[in-house]
């Protein structure tokens, strides 16, 4: 059934239906509406979870780590500085192969302090071993939570997952959303039953240190699990489609890409704007299409190659910048297409909440055709 609801509230509803036993969260703008809604559900006995009101994001993820190791499904949400404070724990959760699911309401990193959207926060944790999903709209953001739990808890994967959606642009926006029922989700998402957990009936040691004799292979196995998640995501997405008629089986998604000469690549809510801009450009006879990256980790290299084999040029839009290098997606797209001869231009765009409009997409289309090299888009010359 369709409900007109705020993105954050829809996500809270979705999380509730995933039946987490332990929630630990610390308030930070623009994530607050999610964790407030969950607190209310717990207070009204609509959600049977232990809600730990931790004193920091660092403890939020640490508590999830402990609860997950003890065998409970766990949830947290954060953004920006909060995620940065979790940095150390993020690597630890992945290394210990604990399927914590966390929502990231994407926000810029200080300094300067900014509460507004870009994707620098989660992108900065791309190396941590977490699966990373990026949502275009709130329907997708909501549905990706069910899929994230399914994949994360798959016994062949056992990795944490971030569901990233753009702060304010999605988190505080009302859209009609089809929120599934508890019965639906119970059919889709089985109980979390890890084979190993902290249990006095079968004592085990978790989180031991590894000497150089063992560490290298540990990292290999984590990397392998992230890559193996590709097939599990496809399966989880296609089973979701079978049940609910929304298809998330692909890690990348094309829009009017089949006969496009210019491909624009992007992640998150900006894809909606790009689709509108593409429709307008198509009306003017311009052969342009979009490739949306829904899953950034594992990086869908093969899918990308396949989807882009026919295009003549590519513009990658990054709401992040590896300072001193390039936007993260531009780097990885170029790496994936190495040897194809397709020119890739990276555009860093919309940092710290700077609006990206259809006219900007049209301008990028022209800039990519000109091929002026990687660049910050839309700089105000008077401020530099």
């Amino acid at each position: 059934m369709m409900h007109l609801t705020e993105g954050s509230l829809a996500i809270a509803e979705a999380v509730k239906m995933c039946r987490p036993q332990v929630i630990a969260a610390y308030p930070i703008t623009p994530q607050t509406h999610i964790v407030e809604a969950l607190a209310e559900m717990v207070a009204n006995c609509e959600l049977d979870a232990d809600y730990i009101t931790v004193e920091s994001e660092f403890s939020a993820l640490s508590a999830c780590l402990g609860a997950s190791a003890a065998g409970s499904r766990t949830y947290s949400a954060t953004t920006s500085q909060g995620l940065a404070l979790m940095f150390e724990v993020c690597f630890n959760v992945a290394g210990m192969r604990l399927p914590v699911v966390m929502t990231i309401a994407n926000r810029a990193m200080g300094a300067p302090l900014s509460i507004w959207n870009d994707q620098q926060d989660s992108i900065s944790l791309r190396d941590s071993g977490w699966l990373q999903f990026y949502a275009e709209d709130n329907q997708e953001a909501t549905d990706l939570h069910y899929i994230a739990y399914r994949v994360a808890e798959d016994l062949s994967i056992l990795l944490p997952a971030m569901v990233c959606f753009d702060g304010f642009i999605l988190s505080h926006t009302y859209e009609p959303i089809d929120v599934l029922t508890q019965a639906d989700i119970d059919r889709y998402l089985p109980k979390f039953e890890p084979k190993e957990r902290l249990d006095s009936a079968d004592p085990m040691s978790f989180g031991m240190y590894a000497t150089p004799e063992y560490y290298h292979e540990y990292r290999y196995l984590i990397d392998k699990a992230v890559k193996d998640a590709t097939a599990v995501i496809r399966k989880a997405g296609s089973e979701f489609n079978d049940l609910f008629k929304r298809d998330y089986s692909a890690l990348v998604e094309g829009y009017r890409l089949e006969d496009a000469e210019t491909a624009i690549i992007a992640m998150g809510s900006i894809c909606g704007t790009i689709k509108d801009a593409i429709d307008e450009m198509r009306n003017d006879g311009k052969k342009v299409g979009l490739l949306k990256i829904r899953v950034f980790r594992p990086f869908p290299e093969e899918d990308l190659k396949k989807a882009l084999a026919h295009v003549r040029r590519i513009a990658v839009l990054d709401k992040n910048i590896s300072l001193g290098a390039k936007g993260a997606a531009a780097l990885e797209v170029r790496d994936a297409l190495y040897g194809s001869g397709i020119p890739v231009t990276g555009f860093v765009i919309g940092l710290g909440g700077r609006d990206v409009r259809k006219k900007d997409i049209a301008a990028i289309f022209e800039l990519a055709k000109k091929g002026g090299g990687d660049q910050f888009y839309g700089l105000k010359k008077e401020l530099i």
């Binding site: 036993q21 979870a49 609860a67 997950s68 989180g207």
Partner: protein
């Protein structure tokens, strides 16, 4: 009652010979019992007891990071509660993980009132990284980051009063203990485990490597710390001191002389003013806790 024959911390671990902490862990586990989940902080004990693929722990054990043991334990406790399980949660951390880097997580966890026992193994410096000073390092102790030198007599600050800080959070049971008194330590751990809410036991564990003494002197030195008043064994219930270990007072010098970390107070030149300052710290403890046994004059 604790089963004192029970061994849940196994032999074969890699602690130094004469390690006070390893001995304490063995005693603590006797008090904790087998239905216990141990949450460990990074530190000596974590390293000497769990080099993959070996473990000394016969109970479920988890280590995550240096500073987050109490937050991890909060999550473990919440999960057990939700699953209807009855195992007890015991945090084990050194003084660096407790007095310094773990303070944020500790304060949050004690304020929230989770049901766990926190055991702090206090060897008064960062031993795992090579004897650097912590907030638990006593006044004038020479460490690698508070070395005694021509214009310094070692660590400039007195030991942080961690038990009082924990008690101020409303912890129902706070105690200090020492490996010199094993039965007392086991009993205090038992009490901490069986008292609902977050409880704290700080155990004095002399470190032969870090303090500089022979490994066969560990217990004797732990005992001297108590007899000189530089370590006080007591219990606090709901913030009030209910029990103290009384002693026949000995001068601090008897304790200081046994350890290399205080050697600069005696050699090359005796530093009377510094020794007097340490005696004043002990005197204050005697007065504050009323621990001196005074023999009646005939």
């Amino acid at each position: 009652m604790a089963d004192k024959a029970l061994e849940l911390f196994d032999s074969g671990h890699r602690a130094c010979g004469g390690c006070g902490e390893a001995l304490a862990a063995r005693l603590v586990m006797k008090g904790a019992g087998k239905d216990t989940i141990v949450v460990a902080a990074t530190g000596c004990m974590e390293v000497f007891s769990t080099p993959y693929p070996e473990t000394a722990w016969k109970v479920p054990w988890i280590h995550s990071l240096f500073e987050n043991a109490s937050a991890v334990a909060s999550g473990v406790e919440a999960a057990l509660k939700k699953q209807g399980r009855t195992e007890k949660v015991v945090i084990m951390a050194g003084d660096g993980a407790t007095f310094d880097i773990g303070m944020l997580c500790i304060s949050g966890a004690f304020e929230r009132g989770h049901d766990f026992a926190y055991i702090c193994y206090d060897n008064e410096a960062y031993m795992n990284t090579g004897i650097q000073r912590s907030g638990a390092t006593p006044y004038d102790a020479s460490t690698t980051t508070s070395p005694a030198g021509s214009c310094s007599s070692g660590n400039r600050r007195p030991k942080k009063d961690m038990p009082q800080i924990i008690a101020a959070h409303g912890a129902p049971y706070v105690a200090t203990a020492s490996i010199a008194y094993p039965a007392d330590l086991i009993q205090k751990v038992e009490k901490a485990i069986n008292t609902k809410g977050p409880c704290y036991v700080q155990v004095h564990v002399p470190c032969c490597t870090g303090w500089g003494f022979e490994g066969n002197q560990t217990i004797a030195i732990a005992k001297l710390a108590i007899e000189t008043g530089l370590w006080v064994n007591y219990e606090m219930v709901d913030g009030k001191v209910t029990k103290v270990k009384k002693v026949m007072k000995k001068p601090v010098e008897e304790y200081l002389k046994t350890q290399k970390r205080f050697r600069h107070l005696f050699k090359p030149k005796r530093q009377d003013a510094e020794i007097a300052a340490i005696q004043a710290i002990a005197d204050k403890n005697f007065e504050k806790y009323g621990i001196e046994i005074k023999l009646k004059k005939e």
